[in-house]
């Protein structure tokens, strides 16, 4: 059985179809990468899954329950966590307060542990807005992890991270994998190949391919649409 399943999921923005008829299955405990070129509709798709964006059509089933009509906060309470592509933290609050809001309780020890987990060594009284961009990303990831979700959705978490921080991130995800199901949008192919157990490729709003990393890597259409381009860029 899948932890997350979508059927015919579609989003149209004023005539532009950003996501079209997406059927996605994410098995419990797996690390599932969602890749695709810029504007493919990845963020829109996970936005609909998390309830941030209303679906034009289609269905989202989480943990065996149809959550399509459920508001975001109720889906989150069912055990889903979401991190934003564009960093969304509380810049004027302390790191401890940021984590406390994610945890739902002001436990300083737990906050310290959550920060340590992502490799943030700053004092928990520091303001989140004073962190460097990369460290703000780490805080966002820490907030997602702190919620102990069953499904953790990460939208380009490694963007702006240094090499060592990416290595630390990979370690963290491998630690979580198994207990936590992870849906990971990622542009960095090294990260994808290192972490993903399965990959779904989105292109122009549609699923181009889905399968094991090796299958995706050798898929000619995927190479044409995405991998080739990104390799050339990199």
């Amino acid at each position: 059985m899948s932890l997350l399943q979508t059927q015919g999921l579609t989003k149209t923005f004023a005539g532009l179809t950003a996501v079209e008829d997406v059927a996605l299955r994410v098995a419990p405990g797996e690390v599932h990468a969602l890749i695709g070129p810029n504007g493919a509709g990845k963020s829109t798709l996970v936005g609909m899954i998390a309830g941030r964006i209303e679906a034009t059509r289609g269905q989202v089933v989480f943990d065996g329950r149809d959550v399509t009509a459920l508001p975001a906060h109720k889906r989150i309470r069912m055990g889903l966590a979401y991190t934003f592509q564009i960093t969304a933290i509380y810049a004027r609050l302390s790191l401890a307060d940021n984590i406390a809001l994610a945890l739902g309780s002001p436990d300083r020890g737990a906050a310290r542990a959550a920060l340590d987990r992502v490799g943030l060594t700053e004092c928990e009284d520091q303001l989140a807005g004073d962190l460097s961009y990369g460290h703000q990303r780490l805080l966002e990831i820490a907030m997602g992890v702190a919620q102990s979700p069953r499904l953790l959705i990460l939208d380009e978490p490694t963007q702006g991270l240094a090499e060592s921080e990416i290595a630390n991130f990979n370690r963290l995800i491998r630690e979580l994998a198994g207990d936590t199901t992870i849906l990971l949008i990622e542009h960095n192919m090294n990260v994808v190949m290192e972490l993903a157990e399965r990959i779904t490729v989105l292109d122009m709003g549609r699923v181009l391919a889905t399968g094991l990393p090796a299958e995706i890597q050798s898929d000619a259409r995927v190479q044409a649409a995405y991998l080739g381009v990104s390799d050339a860029e990199a």
Binding site: A50, R52, P71, A72, H73, I76, R77, Y82, F84, A88, I89, Y90, A91, R92, L93, D97, A100, L101, A102, G104, S105, P106, D125, M143, Q147
Partner: protein
């Protein structure tokens, strides 16, 4: 001292100082301070919504007025005694706040300001329209004999002062408790980043709704108390001016600080009081000081204090 200890010590010390002030101040200042305490209660209510939740209302005078007219009309036309009339005032404000919240919270930002402004304007016009009962602009005076609770004459200056202090202390301590509880933390989270808060699993609408209702009810309590303690109920208290005042007091004193509203109301009251003693152009002086403060202390007096020295100030 622990942080919690310091916080309670500070706020209880303020209340203690105000208790002493009631005994030692000359009559003129005691009278002023009674009025300031009621207005500060209004500002405390406003601050809950503006300072903590980040929702800027331009129509809070309708809640102040709902409390005042709820009490005043019940006493004047319903022969209700002061205490139940006060409760009626509270209920009027709470119900109005709930209705306004349901409609206005569909909008955000500037639209929210405008919707609250329009509602308040309608409330103001309603007061004028029912002039037969409300006596419109002219207002009406509450008979001194009726202004008492449990035999205590609230028109007597010292009684009035302590009644105002009880009201203010209750509002202050309730807010202090509230903003340090999970509920208050979520309000701040909504102010700082609503989308993030929603995506952490919090029901933002429910929190904002409760914030409007609490804020409106506190404002209504201040309005009802004002009518009861000073014996006058008039349409000017529901006008635009009375929606702007709490915004100014809160901005001056420090939005999102528990004692800021009091500090702001106190400061502005005496600023205008002193300035009007020197010159008839006192509003000019008051205006200049306000501009200077917004330039040099944009977070308000207590806000700047918190930023520089007292990080723990709630």
């Amino acid at each position: 001292m622990s942080e919690t200890g310091k916080i309670w010590a500070l706020h209880l010390a303020l209340i203690a100082a105000l208790i002493v002030a009631g005994l030692v101040l000359p009559a003129y200042h005691q009278g002023n301070l009674a009025r300031i305490l009621v207005l500060a209660t209004y500002a405390v209510g406003y601050n809950l919504l503006f300072g903590y939740t980040g929702l800027l209302s331009l129509g809070h005078a309708m809640f102040f007025g709902a409390g005042m007219y709820g009490l005043g009309l019940a006493m004047q036309h319903g022969d209700v005694s002061a205490l139940p009339a006060f409760v009626i005032g509270l209920i009027c404000a709470a119900v109005l706040a709930a209705v306004v919240a349901l409609l206005a919270l569909r909008t955000i930002g500037v639209a929210f300001m405008i919707v609250t402004l329009m509602f308040a304007q309608s409330a103001f016009l309603t007061v004028l329209y029912f002039g037969e009962w409300t006596r419109g602009d002219e207002g009406f005076v509450l008979q001194q004999a009726t202004r008492q609770i449990a035999g205590v004459d609230l028109s007597e200056p010292t009684n009035r002062y302590y009644a105002a202090l009880i009201l203010f202390s209750a509002a202050l301590l309730i807010t202090l408790k509230l903003v340090r509880a999970r509920f208050g933390r979520v309000l701040v989270a909504i102010r700082e980043n609503e989308e993030r808060t929603r995506m952490l699993g919090y029901d933002c609408f429910r929190h904002k709704f409760l914030a409007v209702v609490l804020s409106g009810t506190l404002s209504g309590a201040a309005g009802a108390a004002y009518g009861l303690l000073f014996g006058y109920v008039g349409a000017s208290f529901t006008g635009v001016q009375y929606s702007i005042f709490p915004l100014l007091w809160v901005l001056l004193g420090g939005a999102g600080t528990v004692i800021g509203p009091f500090v702001g109301a106190l400061f502005m009251f005496y600023l205008i009081d002193y300035a009007s003693g020197w010159t008839s152009a006192y509003m000019l002086i008051a205006g200049a000081v306000l501009v200077a403060l917004t330039l040099f202390a944009p977070l308000g007096l207590m806000g700047e204090l918190r930023k520089r020295w007292l990080r723990w100030l709630p």
